[in-house]
């Protein structure tokens, strides 16, 4: 149980932080926009063609990202506290409001990047392209998070190895494309880096000084999250190109 607390992170950006003139949210967004800027060239050609569809997909992906971030945050919260949900919700809403937002932005960027990369590499993703598979992928992703939050592992090595195996399994089951793997890896590295930067700058803080366990599972979660969001993005892109019939 105390290990769980290690993984439960909370934000220390109290209202005092905002008065420092460099709000953390903007810094987080800067990091995100750096990612976005790197690919904007690739995106812009696509954007001219069907910018409306792009915006719609982006909005959907953003919503998915925000929602998943909230859900996963709740998963990380320790079990014993839940008898007083009002406190939990208070901390959730007050302190770290920008986390879901940045997660949503990242989800939108990654989800739009995947199909774009596919089209640029010229190898359209055809493996299990259907919504049922996407749903399965999301469920497995939530399951991985569940496992990382709720299970007791003997040590951090075991935790990170298990999670890495699970993430690779996720990729192998639902993606199996080199571009997907590469992009997922890039996402994981970048996101971990950003998270570490945020922590070192004191904007954000884990509840426990033992940061290593968080470090050990964070990349795996980011990797599988990237693959999942990419899966959704690809399906959305396919759906907008060829309208799925909802009959």
């Amino acid at each position: 149980m105390p290990q769980l607390e290690d993984r439960c992170w909370s934000c220390s950006c109290s209202p005092g932080m905002k008065s420092k003139g460099f709000p953390p949210a903007s810094r987080a967004r800067e990091a995100m926009s750096a990612v976005a800027g790197a690919v904007s060239q690739a995106v812009c050609s696509l954007r001219r063609l069907h910018s409306a569809g792009l915006v719609r997909r982006g909005v959907v992906l953003f919503a998915v990202g925000v929602f998943l971030a909230l859900v996963l945050y709740l998963l990380q919260i320790k079990r014993n506290v839940v008898l007083f949900p009002e406190e939990v919700l208070d901390t959730l809403l007050s302190s770290s409001w920008w986390i879901p937002l940045s997660c949503g932005t990242a989800a939108a960027v990654v989800g739009l990047l995947y199909p774009c990369l596919d089209s640029h590499l010229g190898e359209p993703h055809k493996f299990k392209r259907e919504w049922a598979s996407v749903m399965r992928c999301i469920a497995v992703f939530v399951g991985i998070n569940h496992a990382s939050a709720k299970l007791d592992f003997a040590n951090n090595m075991q935790l990170s190895l298990t999670l890495a195996a699970l993430s690779l399994g996720l990729w192998w089951t639902f993606d199996r494309s080199r571009s997907g793997f590469g992009l997922g890896l890039t996402t994981a590295l970048l996101a971990t880096l950003i998270a570490q930067l945020l922590v070192y700058n004191g904007i954000y803080q884990y509840t426990s000084p033992e940061v290593r366990s968080v470090r050990s599972w964070l990349p795996c979660i980011f990797f599988s999250g990237g693959v999942t969001v990419g899966n959704i993005g690809r399906q959305l892109a396919m759906g907008s190109a060829e309208k799925p019939h909802s009959d």
Binding site: R79, V82, P85, A139, L151, A154, T162, K243, S246, D247
Partner: protein, 1249 residues
């Protein structure tokens, strides 16, 4: 490799046999599987139901020992959780204190001030109690700090020490603070939460009794203050507890107390699910349901989609239950939270196998026996199923070696679940599938019978019926069934259909209701403080043997013989005389119910005091411990028997303890204010409720407006889902002006129309009588009539006959009369000779006849022209011949010919209900041959129209070229003797497919006599080459350039040409692709298991073919490879059209199926009326036209919604639209008995222009 293959074969054979077995004995197998499911689920009955409250277990206090960790099997009553030491032992001291005798000089505050004050001395006593060498400090449960979120309680709840809770905590257990507190009530109530609170409040926690029973109130009638001092002990020392009890009893004796002291109650708590855990849980379940939805949506081509989807879900769920049951049976108790890992288990096991199985079985040939179909489907997928299962097992095995206990357990469950799922889908699902397919065949037979017998015509609909509400509920949301024509023009949104379905069945409500009732019933029955206990108490009260029958460890067992435990609160007619304190008289007790102010309080001990905590919220203990971050979930606490303490204070003491302010707020008229207060509260609550209700209604209304912004019931209101631009015809589709679409009837044919051809401007039709008529596609005027040779009606007909005879002499060269655009006068034909005045009204047609790029035309005609400019080779002799022929023609004009024969009997009429479309000619030609095998003249079997030339292929094998406007025969070729079943006219080439399987390529040469290269009119569309025009001076010759004798082994049934390719389909199951220029055979495409009945090819080289086996194949024309292969129809595929995104096929089963072109997935299907299946056309990428009973219907291709139905004529009943042709200008031509009908779709026209 050989081993691998052998293994594969073995598996396949085993699955085949298994499929045969399942399909042969469905009922026994289903029974067997049900029994095995139930058997495996039987151990689940032992597991507790989720959602019930805490569980109790009572043991004797005397011989108590801490239960060991190892379960001992012999203790039958002992529950599973009763292992190991409890979290804490709870010792409660229940204090009842009263000031007695009550004095009229006392103020209401005195009721509780001095009794509460005594708590500090009691606490002191308890704290300092020492038995031998043990004090409370060594035994009690030491708590550290409170949770970080509870700072505001920091001053109240104990920290860093014993968990000892009493009302004294309000004042930090300090007497001086209490004494200086001016308003006790305010202190007590300041921590109470506002609003509704379901959990234990701080007052409950500290007082240990429900708030209303404490007696800490200004308006208490009883004037008895009750509270508890709760001590949590970490270890149980019986002697210490006994000595504490003895000491307290000695100090404060409770005279009339008969509380039992020999029972210890152990309370086990379930896992609490808070909102923070609930949200992820709900999310996973939502994802699970989405997964199930998207998976089962793919089940198709079965009788009952819902049934199969249900079977699939049942398969997965019961396999999970089986796995849990089996694991429980083998002693593996689940420690994981079942509810939260359940979705992951379902997702791991998955529905994929079931879907693969269904698809495989469904795509087996339909004409096979059900048994064989099942067996074939199973065996064809056996390898992949086994491979998948092996992969999953390996993955799970890897997971097992992670050595994390939870993951290991999950993996164990998953393995058992996978195996049982495999078992179930092999036995249960396969059998259900076989039953379903058998049902489908039966239903199919039943449906077919009346169709062949000839259905009575449906009631006659009006010509153009406005839309009608209320629509009939559609039977199934997946197949759009066309019902009676009167309902055809209803356009029902899909959402509404679902709503209707739900409303009709009220399925959801009923299921929810029944489920809720059962759930509540179970909960009420199993709740420890609930119905069962009550019933037991009732029974024990009524029956004389009740006490004996009652289990002794039942918590609320009656203490007084015959006493009702539930009613002890109300009155206390003590069965035995209660010894009162000395200073009280009996009279006080009697006058107590009247609430007289002078009544002295009476302290009585009832059985309800035995376990005070029962009257509190069941969250009392968990919340108390959770403040210190100790969870009680899945653990238990032991509650020791309560120590009763009775305090009697005399009034003097109470007055001494008064705070100076106490007397100030001592309202004498207490009862009145109480009433007023309750009244006010009542009004407040009522007003609040009313307000909330109004807000709720408004909110719901707003929600409704947001979600369903359109009125469904009203006509012509645009659908919410549509936006402008979705559909080229979105305005007219929803509120069409009645006048906008009115069919134009082209009358003139005497018999049913057989062939139809058009090039956009002109329209040529040929009836069974052999008469060819040419119509203006714009205005609908009849331009030319070319009567059949056999039906001579005037001298001019004779002329035709004669000329035919003459044609046979000079087959290749023909005089060429010509008509230019602007209608030159006829050269040969006198207008009077026609039975109808020939119309020469083609003055300035709005557009020249163009060779358009028309990918959407119906299969009858293919108007795709290559980009090649027409060749205008001038052959000199042809020109000379023209004059010659002209002369000869004039000479022979009046003389009858010897070839004249009796009128050709009309070809065996096709069955009235079902017309042979072009897809069927394999059946048709033999009949025709029997009719007129030897006659020189014959019926027209195929017709093509290009420019002004009509190419007609006759059953005698003759190919004729007619001038469409002049009505003159331009050219005739009789090289072949076998009937021409299909024609294609592309550029200057004509391809004729013959009955004997040969394929002839003709070249049409135009010799310009005057050397003028004339193009007809200004080009209407710049991008397209203008069509060549054959002027009357031109000499047209038709030469056989190449004849492929054995193109096919059997008659050629379909012929299509586009993009420089000629594609033929034949009854020999093959499709061949030829190049048009050099008539070289490029590919022979094999893949159908029946004759080819429909082919589609367009300018973009999309080739689709459909066969008698109901299969549709998509081919790559460049490589000759098969792109996809789907089984779509039961029976022949009668026509095929492709758009950019989808393939539309219709079959003899009267179903129009829309497939996704890239994936081959069926998007949806439209059930047509009987016999109307083959008429099909696509106007634009999103507008589909189908023919029906005397009407044509427009469909939205994207959604499968019926947009509009146009009725063709007044007396339309019984007549089917059997051919449908979409013209270039978005007009639709359909044949309609002996009439043609021209329907314009104006809004589409605008969009196209």
């Amino acid at each position: 490799m050989a081993k691998h293959r052998r293994l594969r074969q073995n598996i396949s054979a085993a699955f085949y046999r298994h499929g045969l077995l399942c399909a042969s004995y469905p009922v026994p197998i289903i029974l067997f599987t049900s029994v095995s499911i139930l058997t495996c689920c039987y151990p689940l009955l032992k597991l507790p139901l989720p959602g019930t409250g805490p569980v109790e277990f009572t043991t004797g206090a005397k011989d108590y020992s801490v239960p060991s960790h190892e379960p001992q099997g012999d203790l039958g009553e002992r529950p599973d959780w009763y292992q190991g030491p409890p979290v804490a032992y709870i010792q409660q001291v229940l204090v009842k204190a009263a000031v007695s005798p009550w004095d009229s000089s006392l103020v209401p505050v005195d009721v509780f001030r001095s009794p509460l004050g005594r708590v500090f001395s009691l606490l002191e006593e308890i704290r300092n109690h020492v038995y031998t060498d043990r004090s409370l400090e060594t035994l009690c449960l030491q708590v550290t700090e409170l949770l970080p979120g509870l700072r505001r309680m920091q001053s109240i709840l104990p920290e860093h020490g014993c968990l000892l809770v009493s009302p004294g905590n309000y004042w930090q257990n300090r007497r001086d603070l209490f004494d200086s507190d001016p308003d006790i009530l305010k202190t007590v109530h300041q921590h109470e939460p506002k609003g509704i609170h379901t959990s234990a409040t701080l007052k409950d926690l500290l007082f240990g009794v429900p708030g209303k029973n404490t007696g800490v109130s200004l308006y208490s009638r009883k004037r008895v203050v009750t509270y508890t001092i709760t001590i949590a002990l970490s270890s149980y020392d019986a002697r210490f507890v006994a000595s504490l009890r003895a000491r307290l009893k000695q100090l404060h004796p409770s005279v009339n107390c008969t509380l039992r002291e020999d029972h210890m109650v152990h309370v086990h708590f379930k896992e609490e699910i808070g909102i923070a855990e609930l949200i992820p849980l709900v999310t996973t379940y939502i994802i699970l349901f989405a997964y199930i939805y998207f998976s089962t949506r793919k089940i198709d081509m079965v009788k009952s989609k819902w049934g199969l989807a249900l079977a699939a879900v049942v398969t997965v769920l019961s396999s999970l239950l089986m796995s849990v049951g089996l694991c429980t049976l083998f002693g593996l108790t689940p420690t994981l939270n079942g509810g939260s890992i359940f979705p992951y288990l379902v997702v791991v096991i998955g529905l994929e196998n079931v879907l693969v199985l269904t698809k495989s079985v469904v795509s087996t040939p339909v004409d096979l026996e059900v048994k064989l179909r099942i067996a074939q489907g199973l065996s064809s997928e056996s390898w992949s199923i086994m491979k998948n299962m092996a992969t999953e097992l390996v993955i799970i095995l890897i997971g097992y070696f992670t050595l994390v206990p939870a993951i290991q357990e999950f993996c164990l469950f998953a393995v058992v679940g996978l195996v049982s799922d495999f078992f179930l889908q092999m036995f249960f699902f396969t059998t259900v599938l076989s039953i379903d397919i058998r049902r489908m065949e039966l239903a199919d037979l039943n449906r077919r019978l009346p169709a062949e017998a000839g259905m009575p015509p449906p009631p006659k609909p009006g010509p153009l019926r406005p839309r009608e509400a209320p629509p009939p509920p559609r039977p199934s949301p997946h197949t759009i069934t066309l019902q009676a024509p009167a309902f055809r023009n209803l356009r029902l949104p899909k959402r509404l259909r679902v709503v209707y379905f739900l409303a009709r069945t009220r399925l959801a409500q009923r299921i929810i209701m029944v489920g809720t009732v059962i759930w509540i019933g179970i909960l009420v029955y199993t709740d420890p403080a609930g119905l069962r206990t009550y019933l037991a108490a009732q029974v024990s009260e009524q029956s004389p043997l009740g006490e004996a029958g009652l289990p002794p460890h039942l918590g609320v067992a009656p203490v007084f013989p015959g006493g009702d435990p539930t009613s002890t609160l109300s009155v206390l007619p003590a069965p035995e005389p209660t010894p009162l304190p000395e200073n009280q008289s009996q009279g006080h007790g009697a006058s107590r119910p009247g609430g007289a102010p002078l009544t002295s309080p009476q302290i009585s001990w009832g059985s309800e005091d035995e376990e005070v905590w029962r009257r509190l919220s069941f969250r009392y203990w968990p919340s108390l411990f959770s403040y210190y971050n100790i969870t009680l979930a899945k653990r238990y606490i032991s509650i020791l028997p309560v120590i009763p303490v009775t305090l009697h204070l005399n009034p003097q003491e109470a007055i001494e303890m008064r705070h100076p302010q106490d007397t100030q707020h001592a309202p004498r008229s207490s009862a009145k204010t109480t009433d007023l207060q309750t009244d006010l509260t009542l009004y407040k609550v009522a007003a609040l409720g009313l307000f909330a209700g109004v807000v709720l209604v408004l909110l719901l209304f707003c929600l409704y407006r947001v979600l369903c912004p359109r009125n469904y019931g009203q006509n012509g209101v645009q659908h919410g889902r549509r936006r402008r631009g979705d559909l080229p015809c979105d305005e007219y589709g929803y509120s069409p002006p009645v006048s906008e679409i009115s069919p134009l009837l082209l009358r003139g044919h005497s018999m049913d129309i057989e062939c139809l051809a058009s090039d956009g401007m002109l329209l040529a039709s040929c009836c069974l009588a052999g008469q060819i008529r040419v119509w203006d596609a714009q205005t609908g005027d009849c331009l030319t009539v070319i009567p059949n040779n056999g039906l001579r009606r005037s001298s001019s007909s004779g002329c035709w006959e004669h000329r035919d005879g003459w044609d046979s002499l000079t087959p290749t060269c023909e005089p060429d009369a010509l008509m230019g655009t602007e209608s030159r006068a006829p050269v040969f034909v006198d207008t009077d000779e026609y039975n109808e005045p020939p119309l020469r009204r083609r003055v300035t047609p709005s557009r020249p006849t163009l060779f358009g790029d028309q990918p959407d035309l119906t299969p009858l005609i293919d108007t795709n022209f290559g980009e090649l400019p027409p060749s205008h080779t001038t052959v000199g002799f042809g020109f000379d011949f023209g004059g010659l022929v002209e002369k000869a023609y004039k000479e022979h004009e009046a003389s009858p010919t010897m070839h004249f024969t009796a009128p050709t009997p009309p070809v065996t009429p096709a069955p009235p209900q079902r017309r042979r479309s072009l897809g069927d000619p394999p059946v048709a030609p033999p009949e025709r041959i029997n009719v007129s095998p030897g006659e020189w003249d014959s019926s027209v079997w195929s017709l093509e129209l290009r420019g002004n030339l009509i190419a007609a292929g006759r059953s005698s094998g003759k190919l004729e070229l007619w001038d469409a406007v002049e009505g003159t025969l331009r050219c005739c070729n009789e090289d072949g003797s076998s009937g021409i079943t299909a024609l294609a006219f592309l550029n200057n080439r004509i391809v004729a497919a013959r009955l004997n399987g040969s394929l002839d390529f003709f070249t049409v040469d135009i010799n310009k006599p005057l050397g003028l290269l004339q193009y007809r009119g200004p080009p209407g569309r710049a991008s397209l080459p203008s069509s060549p025009c054959y002027s009357s001076e031109d000499v047209i010759s038709c030469q056989l350039t190449r004849s492929v004798q054995c193109a096919h082994q059997k008659p050629i049934t379909v012929l299509r040409a586009a993009a420089g390719r000629v594609v033929t389909g034949s009854q020999d199951h093959t499709v061949r692709v030829y190049r048009l220029e050099d008539s070289c055979c490029l590919f022979t495409l094999q893949g159908h298991s029946g004759g080819i009945t429909a082919i589609y090819i367009d300018q973009t080289m999309v080739l689709a073919s459909g066969g008698q086996d109901g299969a549709i194949c998509l081919w790559d024309v460049l490589t000759g490879s098969r792109v996809s292969h789907v089984y779509g129809h039961r029976g022949d595929v009668t026509s095929l059209v492709c758009t950019n995104s989808c393939v539309i096929s219709s079959g003899l089963d009267d179903l129009i199926c829309i497939w996704d072109r890239s994936t081959g997935i069926k998007l949806y299907s439209i059930q047509q009326e009987v016999g109307c299946g083959s008429s099909l056309g696509v106007i634009s990428d999103s507008l589909l036209v189908t023919g029906g009973h005397g009407c044509v219907s427009f469909w939205d291709l994207n959604y499968g919604d019926l947009l509009q139905t146009v009725y063709l004529g007044q007396n339309s009943e019984g007549q089917h639209v059997r051919q449908l042709l979409v013209l270039d200008n978005a007009a639709i031509v359909c044949d309609f008995g002996s009439e043609l009908s021209l329907v314009y779709v104006p809004s589409v026209l605008e969009k196209l222009d």
